[in-house]
């Protein structure tokens, strides 16, 4: 595009509606097939199982599948024909719908970014999926074009973003500069330390539920009885094996999502490319970043590693959904990284610590949150022997019981309160890691729940500040500072719990818009 064509760079007056790339037909057809197969798989499977696996029923199923595929192909074609998009009159228009026609109009001012994603099919055809993201997430519609050629996507991006920023003077030779790329080794380390084992475990649970539904009771019982653990050792081994499996699953999940993670910067825009099977390209305008979080996970901090996230206004449908800025990098390289990517958030000032009188509140809270676990463990120790569980302290397991006030208390009960010791230590750790400061017009707040998180938020980005105090806090001259920043479709919090009330009051004043450093 000729740079002399005025500030918008693109002549919008004569645009006509554009169609998607024909690959969109295939994508639409596949989506329809997937939806129908998903709905039919359970009744179909049941039907097959009841009729036996004879030749006739298999042929019937195959025929049914062919019919569904043919119908889906026709629908895919119709949907492709009915979908058009264009940029005109200062807005992005998307028309679609075979039976129920709809037209979506998004004013260009409301568009926050134009992202591209490449799934397997898109990669086969050399096209991309374009997603037009809007601010004010949730209430305003987004739009997505399932298959568009790279050139068309580039043109569309220029047309949409050209209205808000200076176009690139020359052709895209001077592209964005790569700030950092995730190496394969770091990718695997990120997967191994992500701590998302919980998600993986619940996935395993879901799969086992499905397993239960599909196969007959007798079959399941036979399988279980042949594998079932019969002693404490076996239970432990089984749990370890399950944990290992879940761990491998979480590594796979991280690899799928973050393979080849590359962060680039072009002026006021950050570009993120990531993904193994589905390549995603996201744009984050620097002006939309409300806060940066340096997350040192429990498994990562010992190795001096951290992950970076951003709270971005209007990015994503839900409130408080933060985006990954970079999945893994050494903690000491964070400052240089931020200086290159988002300089407004770079800096490592020394933090003010919490007063000593806050320590007992932190320890108390940690012990309090551990106490349900203690109760459960003690309960299992006492009653487990009646349920047939191999519990230390039961009659035939080698551990004795202790006589106390005419009750026979299994030994295990006394082990339970020992759990409070690591809990108290964790509370002390949380107290020690908490800190805050106001430096260079930015609020720095550090805290630890499980991971140690340092949040950087410029003063002007704070939507509101609050000082909250309970009667216990007031008695100790402590308070909690809570600042809110915009995030996703709602807000996210930056908070410091139990700092001195004088410090809180002065900090709240200094964070105000009218406060000027003399």
């Amino acid at each position: 595009m000729n740079s002399e064509m005025g500030s918008s760079g693109v002549d919008q007056a004569n645009n006509s509606p554009l169609r998607l790339h024909p690959a969109a037909m295939l994508i639409g057809a596949l989506r329809t097939v997937r939806r129908w197969v998903g709905a039919l798989v359970i009744p179909g499977g049941a039907f097959l199982a009841s009729q036996g696996f004879g030749i006739r029923t298999i042929l019937l199923v195959v025929a049914g599948f062919i019919v569904v595929a043919a119908l889906a192909a026709v629908w895919g074609f119709l949907a492709w024909r009915a979908t058009t998009y264009m940029v005109s009159g200062g807005a992005f228009h998307l028309r679609r719908g075979v039976v129920q026609k709809s037209e979506r109009t998004i004013p260009l001012d409301h568009v926050q970014s134009v992202d591209t994603v490449q799934g397997i099919i898109q990669r086969l055809f050399g096209v991309v999926e374009v997603r037009v993201e809007t601010a004010g997430g949730g209430n305003e519609p987004d739009a997505s074009l399932s298959a568009v050629s790279r050139d068309a996507a580039g043109t569309l991006r220029r047309e949409i973003e050209g209205s808000r920023r200076e176009p690139v003077g020359t052709e895209e030779v001077a592209g964005p500069d790569v700030v950092r790329k995730l190496t394969m080794r770091d990718l695997l380390v990120a997967g191994a330390t992500s701590g998302q084992i919980g998600v993986a475990l619940s996935l395993v649970a879901v799969v086992s539920q499905l397993f239960d539904e599909f196969f007959s009771r007798a079959f399941v019982e036979r399988v279980v009885s042949s594998f079932a653990p019969r002693s404490v050792m076996a239970v432990l081994l089984f749990a370890v094996a399950l944990g290992l499996f879940a761990w491998l699953l979480s590594i796979a999940g991280t690899v799928l999502a973050h393979a080849g993670f590359t962060l680039s910067r072009d002026g006021d825009y950050l570009y993120i490319r990531r993904g193994l099977l589905e390549r995603r390209e996201a744009t984050i305008p620097l002006s939309r970043i409300q806060a940066v979080r340096i997350v040192e996970g429990a498994l990562r901090q010992p190795f001096g590693l951290a992950a970076l996230r951003v709270e971005s206004a209007g990015y994503g449908e839900n409130a408080g959904v933060s985006t990954v800025l970079f999945p893994l990098l050494p903690r000491r390289e964070v400052e240089n990284f931020l200086r290159a990517a988002a300089p407004e958030f770079a800096g490592e000032p020394s933090l003010e610590r919490l007063p000593l009188r806050a320590l007992r509140r932190y320890v108390f809270r940690a012990i309090l949150s551990a106490s349900p676990l203690v109760v459960v463990v003690a309960g299992v120790a006492v009653f487990g022997q009646y349920a047939g569980l191999p519990v230390p302290g039961c009659g035939g397991c080698g551990f004795g019981t202790v006589s106390l006030l005419a009750f026979e208390i299994p030994f295990g009960v006394f082990l339970a309160p020992l759990l409070l010791v690591p809990a108290a230590f964790h509370g002390w750790l949380q107290f020690r890691d908490a800190g805050w400061t106001l430096s260079g017009e930015r609020l720095f707040a550090r805290s630890r729940i499980l991971a140690r998180i340092t949040t950087v938020a410029p003063r002007r980005r704070l939507q509101s500040r609050s000082v909250i105090s309970s009667p216990f806090q007031r008695r100790l001259r402590l308070a909690t500072l809570q600042a809110r920043v915009a995030s996703g479709g709602g807000g996210a919090e930056v908070q410091v719990v139990d700092l001195g009330s004088d410090a809180a009051r002065s900090l709240v004043e200094r964070l105000g818009p009218g406060y000027h450093v003399a």
């Binding site: 206004a313 939507q463 509101s464 500040r465 609050s466 909250i468 915009a486 709602g490 807000g491 818009p513």
Partner: protein
């Protein structure tokens, strides 16, 4: 608002008393306890707490921000810069309208803040004043 929770609370208290009476053999002063407790809690919720809450609500509209203070047990002071306020509403439910009251709600990009139970004209005045002050200089 407290009044709406009254019905289940009363039902719970009466039910508890009745069950205790029917199922056990205790004296009058024992099984009447749940009902008495429910009534006492009710008085607390409907009469005492809202009054205290009203007394502890303070607001001030300064040149560049709104200062809110609320709470009896948990005291919270919130400051919202005018430049961050996106729009202002007044809201009033049926019970509020009956007493000529309204709530002012102002929205930032991170959520909403409110000043409850102002008299309707005062609420409208606050709303208009905040709206006028926030008219210029809005970026997120």
């Amino acid at each position: 608002m407290g009044a709406l929770n009254a019905l289940p609370l009363l039902a719970g208290g009466a039910g508890g008393s009745w069950a205790w009476l029917k199922l056990t053999d205790v004296s009058f002063f024992v099984w009447i306890l749940p009902a008495v407790a429910a009534v006492a809690l009710l008085v607390l919720m409907v009469v005492v707490a809202p009054t205290l809450r009203w007394r502890r609500w303070r607001y001030e509209i300064r040149t560049d921000e709104v200062d809110l203070q609320r709470g009896i047990v948990w005291v919270a002071r919130t400051l919202v810069p005018l430049a961050r306020i996106q729009h202002v509403d007044t809201r009033s439910g049926p019970l509020q309208r009956r007493f000529g009251l309204a709530t002012v709600v102002f929205y930032t990009a991170a959520g909403a803040n409110q000043i409850p139970e102002l008299s309707a004209p005062v609420a409208a005045g606050v709303r208009d004043r905040i709206a006028a002050l926030t008219k210029d200089g809005l970026d997120v």
